[in-house]
Amino acid sequence: MTSRFMTGLLLCLTLAAFLLSLMAGKVWIWPMSWAADNADGWIFLELRLPRALLGLCVGAALGLSGAVLQGYLRNPLADPTVLGVSASAALGGVLAIFLGINLVPFGLFGCAMIGAGASILLLLAIGRGGGPIGFILGGMVLSTLAGALTAFVISIAPNPFAASEIINWLMGALTDRLMEDVLTALPFMAIGALLLLTTGRALDALTLGENGAKSLGVDLFRLQWLIVLGVGLSVGASVAVSGVVGFVGLIVPHLIRSFYGEQPSRILVPSALGGAILTLTADSLVRLIPGPGEMRLGIAMAVLGAPFFLLLLLRYRRGPA
């Protein structure tokens, strides 16, 4: 009953955060002018609506991916940023731009999603058998390598204007995205999320370790591919459309657990909602910081997320919670 109440509350908060994202900014736009035929109406339709929809989807995709990765790797420190999945998706995207693949329909999305999916396969190869910290170290390796390669590709980009464009995108933001971009990303994220939502029972079984799960009839090979595809689609599409927005998948499942308990299947939907709430709220707040220009959402999340990661790390060093 409590968890049903919590889910209702999360749904209300998601709606509230979505409405806040539609209204907040240097110019506040109240619901009565949403359909107005003036500047306010135009800002709403062309700027705020795509931005809020993007915040909703990217946040949900990242929150859900974090919850699934943590359950799969049985590690509460796992998250697309920490594991290098986001950085690898970014590398895929940058390569697509450098090689001109982004001119092909879905080229940028395809490359980012392949980057994200491939990084999980690499991670499983590197981290297996290294215990709980093995995947985190493997993720660090991947993250560093993908970052270096990304920097390399940018540095040899022939056109300085393109280079600054890429850097701008990589920093992570929901600003100035066209409705068209949002509608391209949405189906990929939706399919990815649906795949990830089917993993709940298998993740629960993994509470007993790999042999325990196998003895319960869980097909670990199938689960691995569901996660590679699901996270690849969700995180790949998120990065393709909004750059690297980090740590949502780390922070959210952790907070959700204190209300829903730690059973992996029970935190999947709430983590998606929590991710949307956090992303929408943070993206509304960065608009309200006074001063010229606007703080990047990706930077704001990193400033928030890095200390959080440290806090968790210290806590788990003292003994598992």
Binding site: R201, D204, K214, S215, G217, D219, G261
Partner: protein, 258 residues
């Protein structure tokens, strides 16, 4: 219905190899697999549980090949208590026991049947007193019983337990052995990998003694646990006698001098 392996061979990476294993485990008995470290006990159990596919030979439940059974069907009939008492999240005892129902679940929630099986398993292992406590807060003995209840909740015909007594105090070890024996008396097939020879002598109905990947001896306790066999397989000097009730008593005097 018995569980049997015929001329089974297994080799893969760093796991212990098995060669030419033939053995039959009967339902209604507590069978114990013994042998020194690296003899292949856990590998044999993994083959019986269908987790590992033998390179040669067969592992069968009745006359069905275990590796050819669909995983959910196999999981309903053969329950495994894996080595190491691994658990990962701070879920409640009841939620952990409920995981045993996964092979039976259809659709979203738990059925009345599921709830009955979970309650019965927790009652049988006397774990219902702390159903709502997180498993991370339980003592080693309580956790071991909850993990066994998880296997029982699946209502399998066979219970395979891989070193179920590791890291338990003597009293808790006897609790688990009593529970396994109860299950065997109730008609289930029970196969346990054990390290402690005293426990094997006291509780086993049937023993398979492995040595360097092959069956060294198998049969009733008195046929397998002989001073000569223990000297060869473990390199120990043991004294065997009968007490006034006719039960076998084992005294390990020390290592064999070579």
């Amino acid at each position: 219905m018995n569980l049997n392996v015929q001329n089974l061979a297994f080799a893969h990476g760093s796991t212990a190899t098995l060669e030419g294993i033939s053995a039959t485990f009967e339902a209604g008995r507590l069978s114990v697999i013994l042998g020194p470290n690296g003899a292949g006990k856990s590998t044999l159990l993994a083959c019986l549980a269908g987790l590992r596919k033998p390179n040669r030979g067969t592992a069968k439940l009745g006359d069905e090949d275990i590796t050819a059974m669909p995983a959910p069907t196999r999981a309903k009939r053969i329950g495994l208590l894996p080595q190491g008492a691994e658990t990962h999240w701070a879920i409640t005892s009841e939620a952990l026991v409920a995981l045993g129902r996964i092979p039976h679940l259809r659709g979203a929630g738990a059925s009345a049947d599921d709830r009955r099986a979970i309650a019965a398993a927790m009652h049988a292992t006397a774990t219902d007193g702390f159903a709502q406590r997180p498993i991370t807060e339980l003592s080693g003995g309580e956790r071991a019983r909850v993990l066994l209840a998880r296997v029982l909740a699946g209502e399998p015909e066979w219970i395979l337990a891989d070193e179920p007594l590791a890291n338990l105090d003597p009293g808790y070890q006897l609790d688990i052995l009593d529970l396994l024996r109860q299950q065997a008396r109730g008609g289930k097939g029970v196969v346990a990998v054990l390290h402690d020879l005293h426990h094997a002598v006291r509780f086993a109905d049937h023993i398979v003694l492995l040595h360097q990947g092959s069956v060294f001896a198998q049969g009733a306790v008195d046929d397998v646990i002989t001073a000569q066999n223990l000297a060869t397989v473990y390199g120990i000097d043991a004294l065997l006698s009968k007490d006034e009730d006719g039960a076998t008593q084992l005294l390990i005097k020390g290592k064999m001098r070579s």
